[in-house]
Symmetry: C2
Subunit: 194 residues, 2 copies
């Protein structure tokens, strides 16, 4: 299932609307207005509203996964990988604020089973990329072994998500690259063996 350029435009418009008006603002009418064409034209490119959201989540999953893999592959030691991974994440959302709401909206679009699954899949991609880093780090003794492996992961992901949440709540006023990476360094300090 390839995505056409026009579909990508629509997906980006959807993200834009989500950011500015929340879920309740994401209507076909608003989407058409943002795209500067009629409501019915939307249906030339997507079968339904649900498919638009699904395409958005899938597109996000794909690009995030690719980017993370590349970023991680380019570095060496666990703690460097760790830093790189989150730097890459913050930088991405800095450049694609549109999607912050979509990704961190906590099952906001709960009404549909397949949307719920797509959100879970997106969460799984972070796990998939973070997992081997933490594992390697603990095995090499770079990261603390005093707490279980999964707990480290949840602490990290929770911290990351909260930063994104705050950033959005405060209308992207602060520098997420700076603030976010500082936070991640603090976590790194805590989980590193001294």
């Amino acid at each position: 299932m390839d995505i056409t350029p026009r579909q990508l435009e629509i997906i980006e418009s959807a993200g834009k609307i989500l950011t500015s008006s929340g879920v309740s603002g994401l209507t076909i009418k608003n989407l058409a207005k943002e795209m500067q064409f009629s409501e019915s034209a939307i249906y030339r490119h997507f079968k339904s509203k649900e498919e638009i959201i699904l395409a958005m989540l899938e597109y996000l999953a794909l690009t995030i996964d690719e980017r993370l893999q590349n970023a991680i592959r380019a570095t060496d030691e666990p703690d460097a990988k760790f830093t790189t991974m989150f730097q890459s994440q913050f930088a991405f959302f800095e450049n694609h604020r549109y999607f912050v709401v979509a990704v961190f909206s906590d099952g906001l679009l709960k009404e549909s089973q397949s949307i719920n699954e797509a959100i879970l899949k997106l969460l799984g991609i972070i796990v998939k990329n973070l997992f081997p880093i933490l594992l390697e780090g603990q095995q090499k003794g770079v990261f603390s072994n005093t707490v279980p492996f999964e707990d480290l992961m949840y602490i990290l992901m929770g911290t990351f998500r909260l930063q994104m949440f705050r950033w959005r709540l405060e209308d992207f006023q602060f520098n997420i690259n700076e603030t976010g990476n500082k936070m991640i360094q603090s976590v790194l300090t805590l989980i590193k063996n001294k």
Copy 2:
């Protein structure tokens, strides 16, 4: 602005609906059905749907604050206070699952300015109660000074929120008291001075 028993019933019904059907399910019609009376009867007790949500958030803020204060006052050392506080939180939401969606829905109900403020206020209550514990802990040397004070707070709140999020995503299948407290102990292990 005191809350009548009938209003509290409606608030609880609203929470119930939020949990089972998400935001999109919280309609006056569903609310009336849950209350077993007509839609118009709702308006005998609340001026609008927005006021119902606001009342719910305010009620939550009040009860959470009271409970946390009592729980914390009853204990002594920073790390014990710390544990007690989160135990109390997990236990509360175990007994009031209804409200998990409302509190952790991340600006789900973003459409209204006053609702947004109410959610921020709720967040502030956790901060208000956690703040002095961490401060005292760092001053007494119980908690690590290697990372800034606010960072500790964000790590904690992020971890807590993520647990609640996972719990809801997995339909309350796991024991949040057990899992949550275990998580919090892991964080405690990391931030404690050895």
